[in-house]
C-alpha cells in the first residue's frame, strides 16, 4: 500500500524522551511510526511495520545498533536493511528486504521527521543555544485549534514567533526562550513538545513552564 506523504517536517517528541536501546510508537498526522535508538547513534524514525508480515516495529527489541522485530526476529540496521533472518541463519538477506526509513533532524532538543520519500523542504536550522527538555503533553484538540493558540502566545506572552514546521518561540524574556513544537497525531489530537533555553535558573523555570502547559491543556479542552 503506497501512501504519498507531503514534504514537511513534523515534530515527533523530545530527543531526551527516546532512550538508548528502546523502540516506541508515535503517530504523525495519522501515520504510525516506530521511533528507536541504538546504544549511541541518532534517533531513527521508521514506518511502524515490518516488511515481512506487517508486525509493528515499535514492539521490537534493540540489540546493538539493530532493531529486531518481535514476531520473527528479523533484524534491521540503521539504514533499514535487513541483516538477519533467524529462520534461515545461513542466508545473507537480499538487499531488497528493507524497512521504510524517514529523514530525521533535531532542532532545539526536539526530534523532527519528514515522511516524504525525497524531502526537499529545509529542516529548521539550530542556533548556538543549548536547550533543555521540559515535557510533552497531548491535547484532545485538532492541530488547527492548538496552532491558533500557539500563534497567540499560548499563555506565555502576548505574541509568539512562528519558526515554521509547527514550531513557535513563545517566550523571549531575559530568563531564556521557550520553544513549543506541535505534532498532529491522530485526528483531533495534538502533541505539544516543549524545551527551554538553558540558563542559570533553568530547573525552577522548567517546573513553572510545565505547570503552564497543564493549564493550557485544560483551557484548550474546556472550549
Amino acid at each position: 500500500m503506497q501512501i504519498t506523504h507531503s514534504d514537511r517536517w513534523l515534530a515527533v517528541g523530545l530527543e531526551a524522551q527516546f532512550e538508548p536501546f528502546s523502540s516506541q510508537p508515535a503517530v504523525l498526522d495519522g501515520y504510525g511510526v516506530a521511533v528507536w535508538r541504538g546504544p549511541t547513534g541518532p534517533v531513527q524514525v521508521w514506518e511502524d511495520r515490518c516488511p515481512h508480515r506487517g508486525m509493528r516495529l515499535s514492539f521490537g527489541f534493540v540489540k546493538g545498533d539493530r532493531l529486531s522485530c518481535m514476531y520473527h526476529g528479523w533484524s534491521f540496521q540503521p539504514d533499514g536493511h535487513c541483516r538477519r533472518i533467524p529462520a534461515h541463519p545461513d542466508l545473507e538477506p537480499p538487499k531488497t528486504i528493507c524497512a521504510k526509513t524517514f529523514a530525521v533532524t533535531i532542532f532545539r532538543g526536539i526530534v523532527f521527521a519528514n515522511l516524504a520519500a525525497a524531502p526537499e523542504a529545509p529542516p529548521p536550522v539550530p542556533d548556538e543555544s543549548a536547550w533543555a527538555p521540559v515535557r510533552s503533553i497531548y491535547v484532545n484538540r485538532s492541530i488547527e485549534v492548538v496552532r491558533a493558540r500557539a500563534a497567540a502566545g499560548a499563555g506565555f506572552g502576548p505574541t509568539a514567533c512562528d519558526l515554521g514546521a509547527g514550531v513557535y518561540e513563545v517566550a523571549t524574556d531575559a530568563s531564556g526562550r521557550v520553544t513549543l513544537a506541535l505534532q498532529p497525531a491522530e485526528p483531533g489530537r495534538t502533541a505539544m513538545h516543549v524545551t527551554s533555553e538553558l540558563t542559570g535558573s533553568a530547573g525552577e523555570r522548567r517546573l513553572d513552564i510545565a505547570r503552564l502547559l497543564v493549564s493550557l491543556r485544560r483551557d484548550l479542552e474546556a472550549h
Binding site: 515481512h52 506487517g54 508486525m55 509493528r56 514476531y71 520473527h72 533467524p86 529462520a87 534461515h88 531488497t96
Partner: protein, 294 residues
Amino acid sequence: MSVTVDQIALNQWIVCAWMGQVAPGARRDTVVLGQRIRLTCLVDGALACHELAADGSAGRQLPLIQRYEMVFTTLGAEPRPLPEIAEFTESDRKIVNCGSVGVNTSPYRIIENFLDMAHLCFVHTDVLGSLDNTEVYSYKTEHRTGLDEVWATDCAFFQPAASKAAAVSGGGQLTHYKYRVMSPFSVMLYKNVYDEPDRDDVICVFIQPLGETQCFAYMTMAIVDANSTVGELIDFQQTIFLQDRVILENQRPALLPLATSAEIPTRADLSSIAFRRWLKATGIRFGILRAEAA
C-alpha cells in the same frame, strides 16, 4: 456493521459458540459476517439459531451443526461441507474444548500465524521454540484438489516444551508437524504425540468472523495424554494463544494483502504463500485488503 455480500464467505459453516457455552434456558446474541444472530438453548438442551433484525426481532432461522465441541451455523444456501477430522472419534483421546478468544484482526492473519513455525522461538520462547534453534527446515506445501485444502507436510521444528506432557518431562524434542487449512476460516495441525511418535495430537482453530477485522478464535483438540488433566491442557493452549494475540492485533494492515509485493516472504513462509495463493483463487474478498483485491 453490515452483512457481507461475499458469496464465498457466506457459504461456509461458521463457528458461533462452543458446545456448553449457552446453558439450557439461556441465549447468546452474537454476530457472524456482520449479521446479528441469536442462539437459543431450550430447557431440554436443544439449540436454535435465528437472524436478528435491526429492531432486535428474530428473523430467518439458520441451520446448526454441533461437532468437534463446536456449534456451527451458516448464512449461505450451499455451504462448503465441514471437514472430516477422524481423530475426534478415537476413544483414548482427550477431547479438549479450549473455548474462544477475541482477536481484533482478519481471520487470515490468525490462520497464517497458526501455520507459521518461524515465530515459535520468538513469541513462545522456551516453550514452542528456543532462541538457540531458530532454523525452519524446508518443508512441502500442496493444494489437495479433492478436498480443496492447503496442506503443509514434512515440517519439523525443535521445541523445548512442545506440549503439556513434554513440558513435564523436559529436555526438548524435534517435533514433526503437518498443517491443514480446512476452509478460509478454519485450520488445524497434527503434531507427533510426545511419547508415541507414530500418533499425532490434533489441534484445531475455528474462527468466527464478526466483521472483517473482529474475530473469535475457538480452539479444540484431540490429545493423547493420559496424565494431564483437561484443565491443564486448556491452560497450556490459552497461554500460547494469548502470546499470539499480542502479535495478531499489531500487524498492519489487519486486512490481509494478497499482492505479492505487499509483504516479503522467505522459504519459511511457504505455507503462507500457498494459503494466499489459494485464497486468491477462491475469489474471496471478505477480510482482504481492498487495494490488492481490486
